[in-house]
């Protein structure tokens, strides 16, 4: 049984489909990378899993289950209990994810209290233990710090400590390092992967940084305008992309351009609420688009392990199939 399973999950805000019929699975101990540009719906889909979509957003899914338990059928209270203990989430901006009015220790202990309980002394001991686990030096004295006294990297470590406080089985990390410097990013990613291996958690890593996903993820999902356009084992997707969008994304990275040539930029931007094209959503920007692409939306092709949503998926040479 998969740890997390989504079937045809959609999130709509009024007429706008932020997430459009996506399906994927996360297995225990697996690192799943979700990449896409801003507006691709990658964050919204994770918020939907956590049950954090507020009015006027609307979540629908054929299946949304965690460890075989249907999250949609579950009463609100039970679901809240599950998210936070079994499913935890880390957000992009560590500086605003902590409440500036309370000390770090108070916030960690509060999180522990709601999900586990115990005496004050035990909770404090556990908090120190957690801070040690996430590599914060002098954890006892850090407990009395306020968030503004911590650097960005430290705050993110505290957020991770709070997330793993209840030994979650699935950790959703939404751009966990985007706000941090490269050397700190490396530290945080190393920490996340180390914790993930030790605790055999499932980790969903949402990011716009393709290289980061290429380094750490087992499988990767590429999202575009609310849809999954390609998914598969990370190494395979990045070495031989089958969807023109994945190919274009990879080509637009400066490190893909050898020498001082121009970058192969994909023209235009992700379609928004008012300019969603007919047919394949990439068709206005796709170099291979045909009239067929502009009229009809493509179906998913390929095996469950390696899917691509394109009429003419690319072959190993990176050319569209005839």
């Amino acid at each position: 049984m998969s740890l997390l399973q989504l079937d045809n999950l959609s999130v709509t805000f009024g007429k706008f489909r932020a997430v459009d019929n996506i399906s994927y699975k996360v297995e225990e101990g697996e690192v799943l990378g979700i990449v896409g540009e801003s507006g691709s719906g990658k964050s919204v889909s994770s918020l939907a899993i956590m049950g954090l979509i507020d009015f006027p957003g609307k979540v629908t899914a054929d299946q949304l289950s965690f460890d075989g338990k249907d999250l949609q059928a579950m009463p609100e209270k039970q679901r809240r209990k599950l998210t936070g203990s079994d499913i935890a989430m880390i957000f992009q901006d560590p500086m605003t994810s902590l409440n500036p009015c309370f000390t770090v220790g108070y916030q960690i202990i509060e999180a522990l209290k709601t999900h586990q309980g115990g005496s004050k002394k035990e909770l404090k001991k556990r908090a120190v233990e957690l801070l040690t686990q996430v590599g914060i030096p002098a954890p006892e004295s850090r407990l009395d710090n306020y968030p503004h006294q911590l650097s960005g990297g430290m705050s993110q470590r505290v957020m991770i400590a709070m997330a793993i406080a209840c030994n979650p089985r699935l950790l959703v990390a939404d751009e966990p390092t985007t706000a941090l410097d490269v050397t700190i990013q490396a530290q945080i990613i190393d920490l996340l992967i180390e914790l993930q291996r030790k605790k055999k958690m499932g980790l969903v890593l949402i990011t716009h940084d393709l290289a980061l996903v290429a380094e750490v993820a087992h499988r990767v999902i590429v999202m575009y305008a609310g849809q999954i356009v390609e998914s598969g084992p990370a190494a395979e997707v990045f070495s031989t992309p089958r969807h023109p969008y994945t190919q274009a994304l990879l080509a637009s990275l400066p490190e893909s351009a050898s020498g001082k040539a121009r970058l192969d930029a994909l023209p235009g931007v992700v379609p928004g609420q008012y300019d969603r094209p007919q047919g394949c959503l990439l068709s206005p920007r796709c170099p291979y688009a045909t009239d067929h692409c502009r009229k009809e939306e493509p179906e998913n092709q390929g095996s469950l392990n390696r899917q691509v949503k394109c009429h003419t998926p690319l072959d190993t040479q990176g050319r569209p199939a005839a």
């Binding site: 490269v182 490396a186 990879l250 637009s252 490190e255 121009r262 931007v269």
Partner: protein, 344 residues
């Protein structure tokens, strides 16, 4: 050294020992602290070249950019523009030369006045600095919009109607309105998505070719820097730790901090991944910088000398083939760095 022999005509911008020290009050009874945001930066920028300034947040790279555009006056040092020292010129002469060094900011949402139309944003530099009649200004604005890939009908729209990439195009167009020679680009693509980032980088390189622009490209993203830069300067806590051509820095990095930066940057292709040199700890507080080499607390090659003596920027004496590759590190000087040992 090769750098000083370059023909003067090609040299556009020359900085020597630029410093920006801030005095910070720490409360009633404590003495004033001095924050050395930028502490002695020197470089030469030639026509049509790109100098990249690399470093993590708080290393002083943005302050450097603000000094080059004279938003802030350096506390010490010289800034030469085509042979004239910008800092000692009269106010009026300064204003005139100032037009030739423009700046582009990171956040395309904050750098355009939200209450003005694109047309008047682009024409503002001309209104202030020239006597061009209205029709000429409009013509110039529209031709510049077309150069950066915008349509003429965007002239009457407001900034909030544009996407991030388009706004950055507008910001670039505005920077070019006064025909500058130098553009200081402060993280111009950091806020953009990869595909849009590529569009903007291409645009910047096209414009460089067309107008013979020189760029001071401030960035934390090493892969972007490797792509666009001719020369690179790595900064740590206000000081330059390594300086050289793009090839020197990326193919033969020497300073332990540069090595750590490079190895921390995620790489797409497995072959390119380097041995991860894990940096302990974080950037020290600039209010209370470490003695000696500022990097010694996080550096695995540090010894007693690093703790007490500040290293100066100089050529690597063990590698004489490398012209103009400057490093500020005792360990490199003493040839104590052995990465092969690290692997084992």
């Amino acid at each position: 050294m090769s750098k000083t022999n370059v023909a003067d005509s090609a040299l556009i911008l020359k900085a020597e020992g630029l410093k920006q020290h801030y005095h910070v009050k720490q409360g009633m009874f404590k003495p004033e602290a001095v924050v050395k945001a930028v502490d002695g930066v020197s470089f030469n920028l030639e026509k049509g070249k790109t100098l990249a300034v690399v470093g993590e947040s708080g290393c002083g790279k943005s302050t450097l950019g603000r000094m080059l555009t004279m938003i802030e006056t350096p506390t010490d040092g010289q800034l030469g523009y085509l042979g004239q020292n910008l800092l000692t010129l009269s106010k009026s002469a300064q204003t005139k030369l100032r037009q030739k060094i423009q700046i582009i900011f990171q956040n395309p949402y904050g750098s355009l006045n939200p209450r003005k139309k694109i047309g008047s944003i682009l024409e503002e530099p001309l209104v202030i600095n020239t006597d061009l009649p209205k029709a000429d200004r409009k013509a110039k604005a529209i031709s510049m919009m077309e150069k950066v890939g915008l349509k003429a009908e965007h002239y009457d729209r407001y900034p909030h109607m544009f996407s991030g990439g388009q706004r950055q195009r507008i910001a670039i167009a505005r920077g070019l309105m006064l025909d500058p020679h130098v553009i200081v680009a402060d993280e111009p693509v950091s806020a953009l998505d990869v595909s849009v980032q590529a569009q903007v980088l291409n645009l910047m390189m096209d414009l460089q070719e067309e107008f013979g622009l020189s760029y001071v490209f401030i960035s934390h993203d090493l892969s972007v820097v490797e792509h666009i830069a001719d020369d690179v300067m790595v900064m740590y806590l206000g000081k330059v730790v390594e300086q050289g051509t793009c090839e020197q820095l990326f193919d033969n990095p020497k300073h332990p901090y540069t090595l750590a930066l490079l190895s921390s940057t995620p790489q797409l292709s497995p072959e390119k991944r380097r041995l991860r040199i894990k940096l302990e700890g974080e950037l020290p507080s600039p209010l209370n910088p470490p003695s000696g080499c500022a990097f010694h607390g996080r550096c695995r090659f540090a010894n007693e000398r690093c703790k007490s003596e500040t290293p100066v920027l100089k050529l690597d004496s063990y590698d004489e083939s490398e012209q103009g590759h400057l490093i500020a590190c005792h360990a490199v000087e003493e040839d104590r760095i052995n990465l092969a040992e690290e692997v084992a």
